[in-house]
């Protein structure tokens, strides 16, 4: 119950102000099609430089939470998911809005998001310290395998092609080796002065997530957003409250599914929403109503995609292994403030860690309260033309990358990586494993070198890295995740990439 001791810190005026700002801003950003939570958090990082670590994390955490929920606004009112996580919400939410039940759908989505989100953060609160203590048993070989696990799991599960997913991870691992070697001081792959100090993670993240989106908007050409915003009639909030808890089956399926999926590294929110929707449909006695504007569909999907948020941070805060691209971006935010997540985070920086986690708990409630009021405004923002959005994101990406260390080199790297990633994505490669490779590469290499030194002094390298129950267990998970993905790919039953998920959504509608 240590977290209770730091609860008051969330309500310090500046902290609470940032929480409000992140929540309201995140709701609006989340409602904007094309601005994914990961990209929103990446673009926000430069704005945290001048803040205290806890304050910066509060802002990023609030933005993460509320962008996921805010995506429901455009999914319901415009039939355009604000983020891939909201695809399943579109199926019933928009039909409800077409029937004149837009307010009810929005209320149900925010209430279900809050319930799922609170459960997910509670899981984070109670699981993290336990796992952090357990993580003390991890030595260099285990941390090496864990880093490899992070890249391979996300590479195989988050991509529509296992080979291209793993290849993306390899590209990320290679990019992480550019610069000076930490031990020998040797130059590695320095082909341009911009990368002489290595690739800075923050500009890389901004480029990899923001620039492909900008180019995607260019690709659409001079088109106006044809989506019609449906009007929202008033609906008593008390009735929505009653309905959410009356539909407890959908709520619990969504919450539990989202939480479990959140704990698995590499499996994103879009999967949580779609799996929860599918399971809720299968278990419902009113399954024929799904897709026709049934409230259970909205409740299951929205509770799942917000329940995923808290657990997705467990591997990051306990083992410094980000389990998702957004967690990877948050890791960048932590490192910039000199905070190193891992087993000793709660011993060295308990105030930062607990204030951040507590703020996510309060943020869920604020998101629910403000979501209902900001929805109308957010739907209008969601109609901002592509041209304006592309130009704004490009401007923010250039200024944000430069502000990291006042270096033009970072801007060059951001643009080069972003442009390259856009074209790679068109050919089936994926940004998520590449980012994980870039972030986990130094962790993997440092532990590999450290492990090799220990092995040379005590046993042999093979024995050190390939024996012991934990090593074997981690290797087995790596192999199992790759094998499972190959099996699924061969059976052609997966729709895990963003494009595929959108196509699936279009097919379903």
């Amino acid at each position: 119950m240590e977290f209770l001791a730091y609860f008051g810190d969330v309500f310090a005026p500046i902290n609470f102000g940032l929480l409000l700002l992140g929540t309201i801003g995140g709701l609006i950003l989340g409602a904007t099609p094309g601005l994914s939570p990961t990209m929103a958090v990446a673009l926000l990082i430069p704005f945290t430089f001048r803040l205290e670590p806890a304050q910066g994390l509060i802002l990023l955490g609030a933005a993460y939470t509320s962008t996921v929920a805010g995506g429901a606004v455009s999914a319901i009112l415009l039939k355009i998911p604000g983020a891939p996580a909201n695809i399943a919400t579109t199926l019933d939410g928009h039909t409800m809005a077409q029937k004149g039940q837009g307010a009810r759908a929005l209320q149900l989505s925010f209430l279900a998001s809050a319930v799922g989100g609170v459960f997910g953060v509670l899981l984070l609160i109670f699981l993290t310290p336990v796992l952090a203590k357990w993580a003390l048993a991890f030595g260099p070989s285990h941390l090496f395998w864990l880093a490899i696990l992070g890249v391979t799991v996300i590479g195989s599960l988050d991509s529509s092609s296992v080979v291209k997913g793993l290849l993306s991870g390899c590209i990320g691992l290679w990019l992480a080796t550019i610069g000076f070697d930490d031990i020998m001081g040797a130059q590695r792959f320095i082909f341009h002065s911009s990368v002489s100090g290595g690739i800075n993670v923050i500009p890389a993240l901004i480029g990899l997530f923001a620039i492909p989106q900008v180019i995607t908007m260019f690709a659409k050409g001079r088109v106006s957003l044809d989506a019609e915003v449906l009007t929202v009639e008033k609906h008593p909030i008390r009735d929505a409250f009653r309905e959410v808890f009356r539909r407890s089956r959908a709520l619990s399926i969504g919450t539990i599914t989202g939480s479990v999926i959140g704990l698995i590294p590499g499996v994103g929110g879009q999967i949580a929403g779609l799996v929860a929707y599918d399971q809720s449909k299968k278990m419902s006695p009113e399954r024929e109503k799904f897709g026709t504007g049934h409230s259970e569909g909205v409740i299951a999907a929205e509770s799942a995609n917000n329940a995923m948020v808290g657990p997705s941070l467990v591997p990051l805060l306990t083992l410094s292994i980000p389990g998702s691209p957004t967690a990877a971006v948050l890791l960048g935010g932590l490192l910039i403030h000199g905070i190193f997540p891992g087993s000793d985070l709660f011993d060295n920086n308990p105030d930062v860690a607990w204030t951040f986690i507590n703020s996510m708990l309060i943020g869920q409630i604020l998101m629910c309260i403000f979501g209902l009021y900001v929805a109308g405004l957010a739907a209008k923002v969601a109609q901002v033309p592509n041209a304006v959005m592309a130009a704004i994101v490009l401007g923010l990406a250039v200024f944000g990358s430069y502000s990291v260390q006042n270096s033009m080199g970072d801007v060059y790297v951001m643009m080069a990586l972003g442009t390259g990633m856009y074209f790679l994505e068109r050919f089936g490669f994926s940004a998520a494993p590449l980012v994980l490779g870039l972030i986990l590469g130094p962790i993997a290499e440092a532990n590999f070198i450290q492990g090799s030194m220990i092995a040379n002094a005590t046993s042999n390298v093979g024995q050190y890295f390939f024996t012991g129950p934990l090593n074997v267990g981690l290797i087995a998970i790596v192999v199992a995740s790759v094998a499972y993905s190959i099996w699924m790919e061969l059976r052609s039953r997966r729709y895990t990439t963003k494009d595929d998920a959108v196509r699936k959504e279009e097919a379903l509608s």
Partner: protein, 154 residues
């Protein structure tokens, strides 16, 4: 698979494979060997996967990724050129705020669906650009104290 995506897949996977081979060559030939131990491991896997992908593309067995159609390429080209000019020359040459303002206005003019013949839509673009510049200046120069190259104006 039609010829255009197939050719595109061959080119894309070929470029990735070439990078993989170059990384592996450098990793295995550069000294000190200890500094390149980890890159050697990665590059070995990198090359194997990249050649596998390239082989599949050559055989026309790539199933993932739609490539780019001609219309998308034509749509992207002007915006991408403007963005690249901003990043690799104008931002430093003209100053961040001046360059970003010009680029912002050009992008709006290129991609805004509002008709170019209407004076109203041009006024709207100028107002949006001015608003964007004010917000960026307020955020980065005022709030964050970021000192950007300020060449010609500010």
């Amino acid at each position: 698979m039609t010829d255009l995506p197939r050719t595109q897949h061959i080119v894309a996977s070929g470029v990735v494979a070439a990078i993989g081979v170059a990384v592996a060559y450098i990793s295995y030939t550069q000294e000190p060997a200890a500094a390149f131990l980890f890159p050697r491991m990665i590059s070995t896997v990198f090359v194997v996967l990249a050649l596998w992908t390239f082989g599949k593309a050559v055989l026309g067995r790539t199933k993932v990724g739609n490539g780019l159609d001609q219309q998308a390429m034509l749509n992207i080209l002007p915006g991408l050129i403007v963005a690249l000019v901003l990043v690799y020359w104008a931002a430093k040459g003209l100053g961040f705020y001046t360059a970003t303002t010009i680029v912002f206005f050009i992008l709006l003019s290129l991609y805004d669906p509002a008709p170019h013949s209407e004076v109203k839509s041009w006024i709207k673009r100028v107002v949006i650009t001015a608003g964007f510049l004010a917000v960026m200046y307020g955020l980065f120069a005022g709030l964050l104290n970021v000192f950007t190259p300020r060449e010609i104006f500010f």
